[in-house]
């Protein structure tokens, strides 16, 4: 049984549908084979004649009911040749007054059973008409009366004796319904189990792929139906290729960094001999290049390396970054803080906040930071007093290496990675980072971090 889940989904589905259909057909067939004749036997015109004459009638299936009434309650149906033929036979056999008997198949009830007997009657009609033409005057001619009918005869006192019969629902109708229902109930757990077994590897596969989509690499288990096994193998080899590319990219960036940093180091030794003003300018250029290199490496690292997790006092961490900036002469203030510790990579978060503050002070000259915490979440805001950003700039601001004409990234002189580094660092901690323009101008970077 387990084996069939390793075949293709096509085969499994095909087998499931086929076996369900076969089971239902089997149920119907067994009901048909074991149930008695499916509907009430017809009565004969003699039975009707005896009933109208007030004589006893044998019981077969649904009974013929007799009552006396002032009115018959229905009309003769001259257009129904069958009814007319039967009326004549009843008159002859009951020795009744011709014209005193009326019979109708229209009992006013339109149940399923009535429609079934209409069909039977129509089949019988041609035969009956032929018999009636040949020996309709014979007193022994007893046509059959299928299904529901009502017949009436006027008595001497002017009242009417009415005989009526309602056919019961055909038995097979219930039996088959019951059979199918039983089959369905029996099949339900089987189909449920089967579908679950089929769906589980697909679900595992899709959640693995979803996790991969969010940026983690993991080996997808090769299990389940053939199609899923093939897809899992394909995803695994794709991952191997991508991580190969990333490793290649990382080592290439490291190589470039190495190759650039050595001449930069040479330059800074050469600059040491320059006159003071020139030296300061050259050193500034060297520092800017170094920042581009280290930003690139930071970004690559955030993207590729799992953060280490340790208990960190978040408020003191933010304080230390703010203090460092104000030590270095920038107008940065911590407006509000709230004591909270969280499981985090202290260095990575520090880099995030340092990048945001560096962006804020370079582009917005002055910056404020705040930390609030409630309900297992820390909300951090970095505000500056710069001109903010247009909506189009905001939409692409987090893209690595993105720089628009008026981009704040260009103003920082970095590689256009400040916000990308911040975002990758926050994402690695399961948080979110958003940009908006402040009510009083300036850009507001708001971060939500789960603190556990």
């Amino acid at each position: 049984m387990i084996k069939c889940f390793e075949g293709s989904i096509f085969r499994s589905n095909f087998l499931l549908a086929l076996s369900a259909a076969s089971l239902l057909a089997l149920a119907s067939m067994s009901v048909v084979a074991t149930t008695a004749v499916p509907f009430d036997f017809p009565v004969s015109s003699l039975d009707v004649a005896r009933a109208l004459s007030g004589e006893s009638v044998a019981r077969q299936g649904s009974p013929i009911r007799i009552r006396i009434s002032d009115k018959p309650g229905f009309e003769r149906q001259f257009d129904d040749a069958m009814a007319v033929t039967i009326e004549r036979a009843v008159v002859l056999q009951g020795g009744l007054e011709p014209g005193s008997v009326r019979l109708s198949f229209d009992t006013g009830k339109q149940s399923f059973a009535h429609r079934q007997f209409d069909v039977a009657r129509r089949q019988y009609e041609a035969e009956l008409m032929d018999a009636s033409r040949r020996y309709g005057d014979d007193k022994r001619f007893s046509p059959l009366v299928f299904g529901g009918f009502q017949a009436a005869v006027q008595l001497k006192d002017g009242r009417w004796r009415i005989a009526s019969r309602s056919p019961s629902q055909p038995k097979w109708y219930f039996s088959i319904s019951r059979g199918i229902l039983t089959a369905l109930i029996l099949m339900l757990p089987v189909v449920w189990w089967f579908s679950r077994r089929l769906a589980r590897p697909i679900r595992n596969f899709s959640s693995a792929v979803e996790r991969i989509g969010k940026g983690s690499f993991e080996e997808v288990t090769v299990e389940g139906p053939k199609e899923i096994r093939e897809a899992a193998t394909a995803v695994n080899s794709m991952q191997a290729r991508i991580s190969g590319y990333i490793a290649e990219r990382t080592s290439m960036l490291a190589a470039i960094a190495h190759d650039l940093r050595t001449p930069l180091a040479r330059l800074s030794f050469l600059a040491a001999d320059l006159p003071k003003t020139k030296k300061a300018r050259v050193t500034a250029e060297i520092e800017e290049m170094e920042k581009m290199i280290s930003d690139t490496l930071d970004f690559v690292q955030n993207e590729t390396v799992e953060p280490t997790r340790e208990q960190v006092d978040l408020s003191l961490l933010i304080e230390s970054v703010v203090d460092d900036f104000s030590d270095r002469g920038f107008a940065v203030t911590l407006l509000e803080t709230s004591a909270v510790t969280m499981n985090a990579d202290a260095l990575m978060l520090r880099r995030v906040f340092a990048n945001l503050l560096s962006n804020a002070v370079t582009y917005g000259t002055k910056a404020t930071m705040s930390l609030k915490s409630a309900n297992g979440q820390a909300a951090i805001e970095v505000r500056d007093v710069g001109p903010g950003m247009t909506t189009t700039e905001m939409a692409r601001a987090f893209d690595p290496f993105y720089r628009s004409e008026t981009s704040r990234n260009r103003a920082t002189g970095g590689a256009g990675l400040g916000l990308a580094i911040a975002q990758s660092g926050i994402k690695a901690h399961g948080g979110t980072i958003n940009l908006r323009n402040g009510e009083f101008g300036g850009l507001v970077v708001s971060i939500i971090l789960p603190t556990g």
Partner: protein, 241 residues
């Protein structure tokens, strides 16, 4: 220091596969009062060590053949030699790996010449202090707190990381390396001037009060006492591990 006769000068060996860089660095260090040798790799370095006393090695991490980490690992047993790793990778893990193999300091390229000199002096000073004490290790413990010099991290007794700004960390390090001694503002300034960040020169008192407040926010003990007219003293006993 520049007035010392050549045989009293500290002997620095610059190991780098880039010939121009090692010559530039050597020239600069000579100007600043060091005796300097150059080596292109592990083989040349070892032959220098064999025939001469060496105080400090400035060792490039990424070199063809035997890389800097392997050389450092090999040389760490020679306790009289200080090792400063210089690396163009400059990432945090790279720094930690460099220090964990037992190097005394780690310098990301491109370093400024002044910083190189400052770091060399700091390592020489620290090694002379450390030579007096028998304790070794990169963790400084006090009152349940742990200061990890390799990773530049301070953890409180509950193992929660207490982040310090670079200035505050440098200051704490000076206190931890000179515990239970009165340190004047000038001493604090001189010992903690690890690199040439002039930000730190500004306000030693501000730094001290901030450091004090951060320590106090996670503990009740008294750590740094103000000694009137004289400076500051770090009260707890410090154990190196």
């Amino acid at each position: 220091m520049t007035d010392l006769p050549p045989d009293k000068l500290h002997h620095v060996v610059v190991v780098d596969d880039d010939p121009k860089l090692r010559n530039f660095a050597a020239d600069y260090l000579r100007q600043h009062g060091f005796r300097v040798s150059c080596a292109a790799g592990g083989v040349e370095l070892r032959s220098i060590i064999e025939r001469d006393a060496v105080d400090i090695i400035v060792l490039d991490v990424m070199m063809p053949g035997e890389d800097g980490l392997a050389i450092a690992r090999d040389l760490v047993g020679l306790t009289e030699i200080g090792i400063i790793m210089a690396s163009a990778l400059g990432s945090e893990t790279d720094r930690i790996v460099g220090l964990e193999v037992g190097a005394d300091d780690y310098l990301p390229k491109p370093f400024s010449p002044r910083e190189l000199v400052a770091r060399i002096r700091a390592v020489i000073r620290r090694r002379s202090v450390a030579a007096q004490s028998t304790q070794k290790g990169n963790n400084l413990l006090f009152e349940g707190w742990r200061c990890d010099l390799v990773r530049g991290m301070l953890s409180d007794p509950a193992d929660v990381i207490v982040a310090l700004s670079p200035g505050e960390f440098a200051l704490l390090r000076v206190f931890l390396e000179h515990p239970q001694r009165i340190l004047s503002r000038d001493q604090l300034l001189e010992f903690s001037r690890h690199d040439d960040s002039d930000a730190f020169d500004r306000a030693i008192d501000t730094q001290v009060s901030r450091l004090r407040r951060k320590l106090a926010s996670r503990s009740d003990a008294e750590f740094i006492r103000t000694v009137r007219q004289e400076g500051y003293m770090f009260i707890p006993k410090v154990v190196r591990q």
